[in-house]
């Protein structure tokens, strides 16, 4: 407070505040930076954390079907079952029908031929390695091993129960699983040729063990005659990994929040302590303890609010960038984290202001002003 204040008749609270913030810019700035960092970190981590489960479950969808529905032996699924299953499993579930028959190749080798819906399988089994997904109505996708037992891979001739069919080879399929020993053709062509309808439906239900269990219960109630089995390793594995990643993230959030909070606290309280002369002067001029406390507190709160504004923007941007880089999908800013961030920052600021003021309370203004 310098002599420049002399032309002002009265020192208003706001005036002191404004001067205190602008007079020593370097100090205010470093406090603001500290509070912005704390708000940004809190925003980024909370935004990511809130979105984590959805993001992870989405990754696990690529493992393919986690429920397999099989018709009872020697009977096909009743018509319209597919639509009913989709309805019971929810609109997010991926679903692909399969029909199987054992046919003979042009070399006389028995081979499993499967009829399916290629666009559905493409969504469900993204790991299949093949030149391109077939679209033709008479396309035959040859498993890598099955192809070795076929003489002509371009014009594939198969025989089932003395009925033969000519198909156009659509390339080799490689999975490292049972699919390698099979031939996949479109379901319509398959049914026309063999007269067999789909007997197996593979289902991908998103959302982990709880969601799968709920869907299983619904499906079993609706289709008591069908055999409905979860793919156990997928369902269990997904939940374990999501839970653990979640816990890891939780630990990281707490750890980082604590670190930043304490560092900010250290910075802020140092900058308040630095001003014990101001404190002593105000006290000597007649300021009451509570007035001074309110003064320091208000200053800290203004900084904290400014920090939240900048920090929320920076933190949301950071969360967006992290999930864009890592998950290739955006995480949009969440307003719901704002109250928590605000609360955290105000708490840090208030604590940082209170702590030194309590230390200063016992000091004698005279001794301080003398420079001790």
């Amino acid at each position: 407070m310098s002599d420049r204040n002399s032309h002002q008749p009265q020192l208003s609270f706001a005036g002191i505040l404004r001067r205190s913030l602008t007079h020593r810019r370097a100090r205010s700035f470093s406090a603001l930076v500290a509070l912005t960092v704390s708000a940004a970190v809190a925003t980024a981590l909370l935004t990511l954390y809130a979105d984590l489960n959805a993001k992870l479950h989405k990754e696990f969808r690529s493992f393919g079907a986690n429920v397999v529905i099989t018709a009872p032996t020697s009977s096909a699924l009743p018509p319209h079952t597919l639509a009913q299953i989709q309805q019971a499993a929810g609109p997010d579930a991926l679903i692909a029908p399969f029909a199987y028959a054992v046919a003979t190749t042009d070399r006389g080798t028995p081979v499993v031929v499967a009829g399916t819906d290629f666009p559905a399988v493409q969504r469900l089994d993204s790991w299949w390695q093949l030149p391109h997904w077939p679209t033709a109505a008479d396309a035959a996708l040859l498993g890598d091993r099955a192809a070795d037992f076929i003489a002509d891979e371009h014009a594939v001739k198969l025989t089932y129960a003395d009925k033969s069919i000519a198909l156009t080879g659509a390339g080799r399929l490689k999975t490292g699983g049972d699919e390698d020993s099979r031939i996949y053709i479109p379901l319509a062509a398959f049914t026309r040729w063999t007269g067999i309808g789909p007997t197996v439906v593979e289902l991908q239900i998103p959302g982990g063990a709880v969601a799968v269990q709920a869907a299983l219960t619904r499906l079993r109630a609706q289709f008591p005659t069908l055999q409905i089995q979860p793919v156990r390793q997928l369902v269990e594995g997904e939940s374990r990994i999501v839970d653990r990643t979640h816990a890891l993230m939780y630990g990281a959030v707490l750890l980082i929040a604590l670190t930043v909070a304490v560092s900010v606290l250290a910075t802020l309280s140092a900058s308040v302590l630095e001003r014990r002369r101001d404190f002593a002067l105000m006290k000597a001029l007649g300021g009451s303890q509570s007035q001074l406390m309110a003064m320091f507190l208000l200053e800290a709160l203004v900084l904290a609010l400014a920090g939240v504004v900048f920090g929320y923007i920076a933190g949301s941007a950071a969360a967006w960038a992290i999930s864009q880089i890592n998950f290739h999908t955006a995480t949009l800013p969440r307003l719901s984290v704002l109250p928590l961030v605000l609360l955290l920052n105000i708490f840090i600021a208030a604590f940082a202001a209170f702590f030194p003021v309590r230390v200063l309370r016992g000091l004698q203004p005279a001794a301080l002003l003398k420079g001790e």
């Binding site: 500290a34 390793q233 670190t259």
Partner: protein
């Protein structure tokens, strides 16, 4: 004189040093813990992902075509070709042998029961000691299929067997198959077609089916590097140098290639459903950890440099006094930098210890029951110099602007002002 100043500064300004030190300590603790977790997360998640089963499958090359629907063999192969069980220890001698974490051979056989019925059975390893030279590991089907649920015990003797939960057998039953009595020691629920089968020790299955040393399929679980464009190259088309690089990277494809080399007549392939997606999930989770570590580093860096800047700003009066007493700018800067540096190195080292401990504790708590923590040491020596250097650089960088402006100010102004 210099050292005395340094010493006195630490001795007399304990509060200031403690605050700045605390900021560095916490910053380094958090960064160490995050980095330590991020470096081990790959291994930990790989262990978790092991629940998906094998990522490489080895089959005999000149096999007949499988005629399998829903895991049930419709036309069980007669004759056919087999791998040799005695070749399997060679898996522990390939270049990436240490990355192989599980091996499970299978031999499906069809047995005649005393009442004339047939039952499908599979010969497996349960707790087999796979040893080659110095290295050995205990492995088998239960370890490779963590989702199998067992009541009772796995067979340990050649005349014992486990039964699938849907086979209609009970613990303690004796089954007479192909003329030998087998005692059921446990019931297994696998959730697939094996629920209706008998699970025998591999040697017993070989003896009962009269197929000595035969194995029809081997599941291998290996720790791999996620596939990239280079991994998809055909090794035989690469130049010798490129081939060498390809060979020496733990891609599923290179490990499969090495298995084909080691075991005569074998065809090894990655199980794409497991391998492709595991790599993806692993990449996402460890990527997330690394990005968060980077965010932690950035935040801790900001916080520490802000704390250091404040700590120096506070001491302008000291700087003014020293200058007015005739100290050169260089000498003062040296003193302040030494103080900062000492503080950073010291608290950085302590933060490293705390952080490592914290990471180990967190890791053990979150990944409890995997035995993952026991495999890796608590202290990662590589991190120590990194953490200390980071603390040093951040602290020095954080205090530089404040030292600079303080030195440039006129000492008399500083001393007169209520610093």
């Amino acid at each position: 004189m210099f050292f005395r100043l340094l010493w006195e500064s630490f001795r007399r300004q304990r509060r200031r040093k403690a605050l700045a030190g605390l900021a560095i300590l916490l910053g380094t603790t958090a960064v160490t813990a995050m980095l330590a977790l991020a470096t081990t997360i790959g291994d930990r998640i790989h262990k978790e992902l092991a629940v998906y089963g094998a990522n490489i499958v080895v089959t005999p090359k000149a096999d007949q075509l499988d005629v399998k629907i829903g895991g049930v063999d419709i036309k069980p192969s007669t004759g056919g070709s087999y791998l040799k069980a005695s070749d399997l220890p060679k898996l522990k001698a390939i270049f990436w042998a240490n990355n192989i974490t599980g091996v499970s051979p299978e031999l499906p056989v069809s047995l005649h029961l005393a009442n004339g019925q047939q039952i499908q059975a599979t010969g497996l390893w349960f707790h087999h000691n796979l040893a080659n030279g110095g290295s050995s590991m205990i492995t088998g089907a239960p370890a490779m299929h963590p989702w199998w649920k067992l009541t009772g015990a796995w067979p340990t003797a050649p005349d014992e067997a486990a039964a699938g939960s849907a086979s209609g057998l009970h613990i303690g039953d004796t089954v007479k198959a192909n003329g030998s009595a087998l005692r059921i020691t446990g019931l297994v629920s696998t959730g697939d077609a094996m629920d209706k089968q008998l699970l025998l020790p591999l040697e017993s299955a070989q003896k009962l089916a009269n197929l000595p040393d035969a194995v029809s399929r081997v599941d291998v679980s290996a720790r791999t590097k996620p596939e990239d464009a280079f991994a998809r190259k055909d090794p035989d088309t690469l130049s010798p140098q490129q081939h060498e690089i390809w060979y020496c990277r733990p891609y599923a494809n290179s490990i499969a290639y090495q298995i084909r080399e080691a075991i005569p007549g074998a065809q090894a392939q990655q199980v794409r459903r497991v391998e492709q997606n595991e790599g993806n999930v692993l990449e996402r989770i460890s990527g997330l950890m690394w990005l968060i570590s980077a965010a932690a580093l950035l935040a801790a860096g900001f916080a520490v440099s802000a704390a250091m800047a404040t700590a120096i700003l506070e001491r302008r009066a000291e700087i003014g006094l020293m200058r007015s007493l005739g100290a050169s700018k260089g000498a003062i800067a040296l003193l302040f930098y030494s103080e900062t540096g000492l503080l950073a190195v010291f608290t950085g080292a302590i933060g490293y210890l705390f952080g490592s401990g914290l990471a180990a504790w967190l890791g053990a708590r979150i990944f409890a029951g995997d035995g993952a923590a026991s495999g890796s040491p608590v202290l990662n020596p590589v991190l120590l110099p990194i953490i200390v250097a980071l603390a040093f650089i951040v602290a020095i960088a954080g205090s530089t602007p404040s030292i600079r402006t303080s030195l440039e100010m006129d000492p008399s102004t500083i001393l007169r002002a209520d610093a």
